[in-house]
Amino acid sequence: MSVFFTLSTWILPTFFVGTVLWAAVRNVPVYEAFVSGAKDGFETAVRIIPHLVGMMVAIRVFRDSGALGWMVGRLSEWVSVLFPPDVLPMVLLRPISGTGSLTYMIELFRSHGPDSWVGRLASTIQGSTDTTLYVITVYFGSVGIRQVRYALKVGLLSDLISAAASVAAVRWIFGPPPG
């Protein structure tokens, strides 16, 4: 598995320095370009505050009330073959709301830690799929398509396959879940 550890460690620094170097060779004023792009970063962070607050409040209310624990308990017999029950709410949220599943991932970071098995699985699920219902609504809505044919089925099925593949990949690289 050491090849995966190497890949994970090297990809970010290599991409960063490689991009700057390649751009410099192509006569891009690299520092000026960096600053002009970086300006958007602050705005983006501020723009997502309402979304994060909204989702965080709903998920905290759902969890702190005990409703989440009840739901996970009910569903765990069914799904524990496929997913650890802890990440199930995240798998359900992922296609509906990207911020919702991101918020739930943060909850798992707080309760289990980001380097726990569940924390790593949540990270992988969040990074490997997109918000299917949002994409379908926005893309088809923009051109007035009403009959979406099989697009929704394909999107949701591939979300499920991605989540199952995340479990397999985390298990393969980091070993089976403890306990």
Binding site: S8, T44, M55, A58, S97
Partner: protein, 202 residues
């Protein structure tokens, strides 16, 4: 009511009811206030990585990385979108959208994808029914093939991970499997539709 509104309402109301039945409504109050506090904290914690990443991606854009990736993807796109003529503007937008997604530029990918949709609509004979090419574009976008899950890495750092980038390899594996499945499923459904309704439709 949209899906997200329904989800939000469901979470809040079921939390309220469960807490009320257990006689601990204070859990709802605490959840509201703590949730709001944490939502702001998370967004502010993301500033550093968003500023850094969008800066790097602007360098990549000005150096022509998106264009270079789009050139490399052209043969793949021609295979994925057989119904789109290679010199049609839609092909260019599809390639730019795919490239921006792979580079993790969600903000750039969406407008490019919407441009591709309106150009595909010109080729679409039935204006309120999705064409084959549109379904394929959606399959690619909902599967989101990305090389670097930057937001996840940033949040892992914020919550004290000792190995924030360790999840890159499993994420790449899972997203590759997911995207491949989306492409295969899209092909299978497309063929099934063609068999059912005969040739010549959308």
């Amino acid at each position: 009511m949209g899906m997200v509104s329904a989800l939000w309402l469901g979470l809040l109301v079921s939390g309220f009811v469960v807490a009320a039945l257990q006689g601990r409504i204070d859990a709802v109050t605490r959840g509201m206030l703590k949730g709001a506090e944490e939502g702001v904290a998370v967004a502010l914690g993301l500033i550093s990585i968003l500023v850094l990443w969008l800066g790097v991606m602007r360098i990549a854009e000005e150096a022509g990385l998106i264009a270079a990736l789009a050139r490399a993807l052209r043969p793949v796109a021609r295979w994925l979108f057989p119904s789109v003529p290679a010199d049609h503007p839609a092909m260019g937008s599809i390639l730019a959208n795919m490239s921006a997604n792979i580079l993790g530029l969600g903000n750039a990918a969406t407008p490019l994808g919407l441009k591709a949709m309106s150009e595909l609509q010109e080729l679409n004979p039935l204006k309120d029914r999705a064409s084959d090419a549109m379904c394929t574009l959606l399959a690619l976008n909902t599967a989101s093939l990305t090389i670097l899950p930057t937001t996840v890495i940033a949040l892992r750092m914020q919550y004290g991970s000792s190995d924030p980038t360790g999840i890159i390899a499993p994420t790449l594996l899972a997203t590759a499997v997911g995207t491949a499945s989306a492409v295969v499923l899209d092909r299978l459904y497309r063929k099934r539709d063609a068999r059912r309704k005969g040739p010549g439709r959308g």
